[in-house]
Symmetry: C2
Subunit: 199 residues, 2 copies
């Protein structure tokens, strides 16, 4: 397979999804976005299922690259950087459209084994990265040693997932959720959080 | 309109949704579930949009009845009862199927003004009920007076929303999420939470 063309098709799938949503998406839309024929899409990906399996893998690689390429000299700064990576609108329009599509894909998971398997990897990657940072923070004494990293990471993944869903369904700004989650992390994880801000 | 028949159709819509999901649902499926003709469904609800507007209103009434009919002699017990109402599997199969459908409806919200408006009401009702309980708990001295009810309620709605989404996409038990959220509430809201459990 010509990898470059295959990747171009996945990038066109991303743009076509942002524009049309998952439910309404056709191979014709992807072909139009890639400036190719439907036949050539089918040549590279013999079924829509196969295309989506590869597409989710492509997204997963982008996602893990994003959540591991975080800045920070300390675990606290790394956590802030990670929350910014997952809860911020850098490029408002594509981010919001894509989060909308991602929620659609999540809602299809119960009906689609491939989606479910792939989406579970995103969830696990975010959990692992949060847990790694929290473990490092507790070891460095920057986070309270009563914090249980697995419990805190699990809680944060759940809250971040909820923030994404509510951002889409209620149209609240993602930045507002970022503040809420950051505030939780700052006041409940850090050692010696200021007393007036511990709740 | 014959209210009883109209309600029967909404109940049939609920069952048909649990069985087929939203994306695949047809008026024919609803008619089959209601043991009626397609024409009679159209007689009561002249469009699929109109049917779904009424259906979401019907669900909203059930939801508000569920979250206000909570037990408890104290705000703490009321909060526990509310978390049990929204995060427990009383009747495993229909609950899980329906939560799956609800996630599908949420994912359609950005494409559908009616859905978005109706779903925002569920979000607001849960927020209000949580906030009322937390205000009462702070006033009664049962919850720490440093707790800001609006902030804590907002955080809990986000986490509960995330718990529903992850329950569906990762197939984790809803009870596990209930434990996580209850633990958060117990350790971060209550006055004099045991020191070893405050994180």
């Amino acid at each position: 397979m010509d990898d470059e063309t295959a990747t171009e098709i996945l990038e066109a799938t991303y743009r076509a999804l942002c524009q049309h949503g998952y439910a309404a998406l056709t191979v014709k839309d992807i072909a139009a976005e890639a400036d190719r024929s439907k036949a050539s899409i089918h040549y590279y990906y013999d079924s829509k299922e196969n295309l989506f399996t590869e597409f989710l893998e492509f997204l997963y690689e982008r996602f893990t690259a994003k959540i591991t390429a975080i800045d920070g000299n300390t675990p606290r700064e790394e956590l802030e950087s990670l929350l910014n990576a997952v809860l911020i609108d850098g490029r408002p329009t594509p981010d919001k459209s894509f989060r909308t599509v991602f929620l659609e894909l999540q809602a299809q998971a119960p009906y689609n084994d491939t989606f479910r398997t792939q989406l579970a990897k995103f969830d696990a990657a975010l959990f692992d990265q949060l847990q790694n940072i929290i473990v490092a923070g507790v070891e460095a004494g920057e986070f309270d040693d009563a914090v249980e990293p697995a419990v805190a990471a699990e809680f944060l993944v759940t809250t971040i997932t909820g923030a994404h869903a509510r951002h889409i369904t209620t149209e609240r700004s993602i930045n507002r959720f970022n503040e809420t989650v950051t505030r939780y992390a700052e006041t409940h994880l850090l050692t010696d959080a200021p007393a007036e801000a511990t709740r």
